[in-house]
Symmetry: C2
Subunit: 227 residues, 2 copies
């Protein structure tokens, strides 16, 4: 696939997949098989104007196996239930990589996958973040529970404040789709549903903001536990 943008190409160069060639408007610090071309040619190859003067032909995105994520001791995983907006998937991937999660899990169907737009929205973080696609998210959550993980779903309006549970040990944070929230079967797999207090007039936060707050609350507890 052809990815584009400064950070996405930089991170691909130090990531897991092969970068076959780079098109750039200026030599800059690009390494490898670099061709200097016009901005128009990059726009044509990247199929967008948001290329920041660089695009790269790279191997398809390399997903990891879900079992790998659950093989880690006390995994810290974020799972997304049918998030369809590439901006949201990218933003969540960027935060999740910064938090140092074991991995991100997305469903195979009715959900955004790792496209060049997602690479861009994640500022290239997807190149370093283990991402698994699963056939059935509820089944994955059951496998996680079988391995003694605790599963917490974010659900606006639920009674448990997001900072109340104990997030040490194996833990899975599950985020619902934009506007629709968690599907009933996915919600039923959660040990608890947690929510962020909302004190204004808006009825919900953006899912990527909710994910950032929940992931950092989890990280904070896990860091405090390890010191």
């Amino acid at each position: 696939m052809v990815i584009y943008g400064t950070h996405p190409v930089e991170e691909a160069l130090r990531g897991r997949r092969k970068v076959h060639r780079i098109w750039a408007t200026e030599p800059g610090n690009w390494t490898g098989n670099v061709t200097i071309v016009s901005a128009d040619e990059i726009a044509e190859r990247a199929e967008t104007d948001a290329h920041q003067g660089v695009a790269a032909l790279v191997d398809p995105y390399i997903y990891v196996d879900e079992a790998e994520l659950l093989a880690v001791e006390n995994p810290f995983i974020i799972a997304l239930d049918e998030i369809t907006d590439p901006q949201n998937l990218g933003a969540i991937a960027r935060t999740a990589e910064g938090v140092g999660v074991t991995g991100l899990v997305i469903p195979e169907r009715r959900a955004a996958e790792v496209t060049p737009a997602v690479c861009k929205a994640s500022a290239g973080a997807v190149e370093h973040l283990p991402i698994a696609r699963v056939r059935n998210l509820a089944d994955f959550l059951q496998s996680a529970k079988d391995k003694q993980c605790w599963v917490y779903g974010a659900a606006a309006g639920s009674d448990t404040r997001y900072d109340q549970p104990d997030y040490k040990g194996g833990v899975i944070a599950v985020m619902g789709a934009e506007g629709k929230g968690l599907r009933p079967r996915v919600a039923s797999m959660c040990d608890d549903l947690v929510s962020l207090p909302l004190l204004g007039k808006v009825e919900s936060l953006n899912v990527s903001a909710t994910a950032a707050v929940l992931l950092y609350e989890m990280l904070q507890q896990r860091l405090d536990a390890s010191t």
Copy 2:
């Protein structure tokens, strides 16, 4: 100005500024002076295809006076230092409104202001959030300090973890520009600089994710103090 999108128009109707007329592709539940028109006509009036079938002619955005924000007892304010991306301003405004901050402060120059794109990115939250534009952000922070507020700047790599300070009482969170961070004079006005732990390979988070985490940490402490 002409705003667009379902949430932005809905929130404008229950907000502070006057809605003069609405153009919609379908009657829906819109109230007031509504005209049913084609999607193309809405796109032309809104100057974007991201209109979701509705646009509205509204009064200019109503900013509040910075003194109003500081007149509140123990204000909880977020200030943005030259954030230029409308998506980031909108995303931060949405989270800030949800957190129930006293208000948001932005500089008059070299910064995004409340445009229709910001209304859309905030899902209409800007209609309920008090936003002040200040001539000089460092001077505003000095005024806040004169009123016994504590000022905390978010700066990647700083020594103080974001959850260490005491955020009760009057508090101002200051966010730096995308990629550039806080300007030196603004940073020098901060009582402390705080950072989010980054455990991955990415060097920074998106400013709206950082703002969400910091604002909710502040809210959490303030809620715990009031119970």
